[in-house]
Symmetry: none
Subunit: 226 residues, 4 copies
Amino acid sequence: MSTGGAGEPSRTGRPRDETIDAAVLTAALDALAADGYGGLSLVAVARAAGTSKPALYRRWPTKQRLVLAALEHQVQAVEPPDTSCTMCDLAECLGLFVTAFEAMPPGVLAPLLADGQDGEDLREEFMTRLFDPPRDAVRLTLARARDRGDLRLDVDLGLTVDLLASFVCYRAMFGHAPTTPREIEAAVETILQGIAADYPALLARAQGEPVEVGPHELHAAHAPTR
Amino acid sequence: MSTGGAGEPSRTGRPRDETIDAAVLTAALDALAADGYGGLSLVAVARAAGTSKPALYRRWPTKQRLVLAALEHQVQAVEPPDTSCTMCDLAECLGLFVTAFEAMPPGVLAPLLADGQDGEDLREEFMTRLFDPPRDAVRLTLARARDRGDLRLDVDLGLTVDLLASFVCYRAMFGHAPTTPREIEAAVETILQGIAADYPALLARAQGEPVEVGPHELHAAHAPTR
Amino acid sequence: MSTGGAGEPSRTGRPRDETIDAAVLTAALDALAADGYGGLSLVAVARAAGTSKPALYRRWPTKQRLVLAALEHQVQAVEPPDTSCTMCDLAECLGLFVTAFEAMPPGVLAPLLADGQDGEDLREEFMTRLFDPPRDAVRLTLARARDRGDLRLDVDLGLTVDLLASFVCYRAMFGHAPTTPREIEAAVETILQGIAADYPALLARAQGEPVEVGPHELHAAHAPTR
Amino acid sequence: MSTGGAGEPSRTGRPRDETIDAAVLTAALDALAADGYGGLSLVAVARAAGTSKPALYRRWPTKQRLVLAALEHQVQAVEPPDTSCTMCDLAECLGLFVTAFEAMPPGVLAPLLADGQDGEDLREEFMTRLFDPPRDAVRLTLARARDRGDLRLDVDLGLTVDLLASFVCYRAMFGHAPTTPREIEAAVETILQGIAADYPALLARAQGEPVEVGPHELHAAHAPTR
DNA sequence: CGATAAGCGAGACGGTACGTCAAGTCTTATA
DNA sequence: TATAAGACTTGACGTACCGTCTCGCTTATCG
């Protein structure tokens, strides 16, 4: 499962120094945070990690793979909550999504994907390793909501996931400021109104069983509509 | 108007050759489409445009500015429709938005914005010149809808615009496939359900006054479920 | 005789601005003194002279010709003395030669001659305008000395002139320090001993009719031989 | 010895390819001979040598250093003869000096020294590596002559060396034609007459023990006149 | 237990693009 | 027609990074 480093280390000969993997990934993250994807120099990363260029290329075939591994190195799993309060779950799940993306250095994801030299394989790998987990968490949360009857049956789950995920990414890419919990909740409310079987009931349930993610501000916006 | 090129051409001396501006921008677009942002070589662009590097740097101070000008060179204005059918207007407006972004070579926007070397000024310029026009068209369409009473009064217009715009950008950046009219309509419907004062009325109006953008498929999905 | 500027100004149309010639030559000399031949930028010269590049090229076909004209602009004629004291005349004449060359900015002559692009014509022009005058002064001085019987009849005047001139140039090119009068005199004495019909007589005459150029140090070196 | 290239190659890492040094220096000499110093393009040299620009800059920090190394690469050591015939030795030694300088492509030395960008260090290096060896050979020859009593005791050896060296350089720089052995001998005779303790004796010795460097023409000029 | 295979740091290798600068020519509007 | 201004093409400059390679050395495992 050790996704990160080893291309395919040989069984014989001197074994790889495992500490180098971590040192390089950390150094790469620092460099990415400092100079962005375009300004990333592999020789600088190697020096900062106390190693050399060939050691990098022994582990990752291209610059892109190294960056991908570095990003993967720092994300933590998104564990979708399941409190049976659809609105709360969705807000929290999306919050985790946002957190995962905002933890990455800004201005790295997009150039990485667009670098082209590594073609579709890289995009696929990126999706599998970085993007799908939080996305699947959102999808799972939505599926649970549908299964318990909170959503209309004709709702296109894929489209809804895209709507939510795109909002997160939009901010991560163009956003001047980070996405606040307040904004997340507002987005969730708007989307839910569009897909809920009985939105007022969901809202009532959320007010009755407030989640820890700022339940008070959560409903302030729509309170007058009640 | 001050479209693409001239940084600030002097009033005296030999005037700039206007044909060079266009030739360079066209060549740059071709090169971007062929090799992506990272693979863009200014000397290659200059050669393809039948001119030289200094002529480029005389017009655009950095690679980013040139690319920005090239992108701006090919987008056409988004004229928001106003047929008083909220759903139709919104779908068409968003379709224009998508078209504008999909006309750009893929994998250019993101690295351009993330290149960093030009800092915040570039992001601002990008927003002003490329992003805001279609965005404002959507906002205007939404504002018209609200003014004619189609939307709830407490709707956050900014948030809604972001939700729609982010969906477009998401596809333009991560999208494997282009965004189809069908997807646009589905997204519009979902969002509208979340913000409409009386969604069934909007839907009925759209069905009574079908727009040219595939009105039949448009409502097929949800109409039967009602 | 106006050697400097005008390539061949037309008789009709707007007449050339004569002040530009002088301004350019002066600016060129300043620039040469500051940055040497290799660091000379014509556009910088034009700006410093308050004019433009085309105005320069209208007057001098190449960079080399401009430099040549600039050097010529500042040299003054070498008037060979004729006091019938061979040693004094020669020393003074050579001193004028040295002065003429040391007045020129260092490190300009040689690169100018070696620039090649202007071929033999430039070398010829250089010789005619800059080098031959002081050289001819030395040759004249030597010829006068021979005519009055101070030199052996078989002396090769051309060779002797070259020996003396080369010493001057050597210092102007490789010399770390300027050539002092003392060194000039020592060189003259050595050469004279090699070509004089009766060196002791010349020496005695120089001592009897001391020239203003430091007569005391002049003979100090050889005094013990007396 | 430390001939041409390596600035200061590190002891660790991949060692430099020695063949590149030679290939570059040879290519540089060819280019210098073809286009002169001013027309020397480092990228052209690199291409001609089958290598790349960075490989050049790794070895020589500036264009000047490369040219200096190239010149040094082709000069051979000047071994001063010691036949106890002062006149013969001096003539041969000076002939070697001339040969060494005329082997260099014309019009390179002077612009190299005048390029300025490398300052005094370059001039010093040039002196040490190229100029001093033949110069010291002449000085040694003169010192031997003095030690065996052939020269007057008050002769300034430094000045004499300068007189002879300057004659060589003068021709190498301004010379239209190469310096012939005949001219060398004439110059030696003239100078020797100025510094010999007993010139007729030296001349007689040279005639009695003729050297291989054209002894017959050597004295033809002056012998009859006596 | 010694050979061998692969790891290691270091850095040179050929390429390629960068952004700048100068040369010499041209094209304006103005005088 | 000359002028000032400046845009034009060409091409070298010196630097930086890429991904590969070669070195001398160290460290395991296998024979």
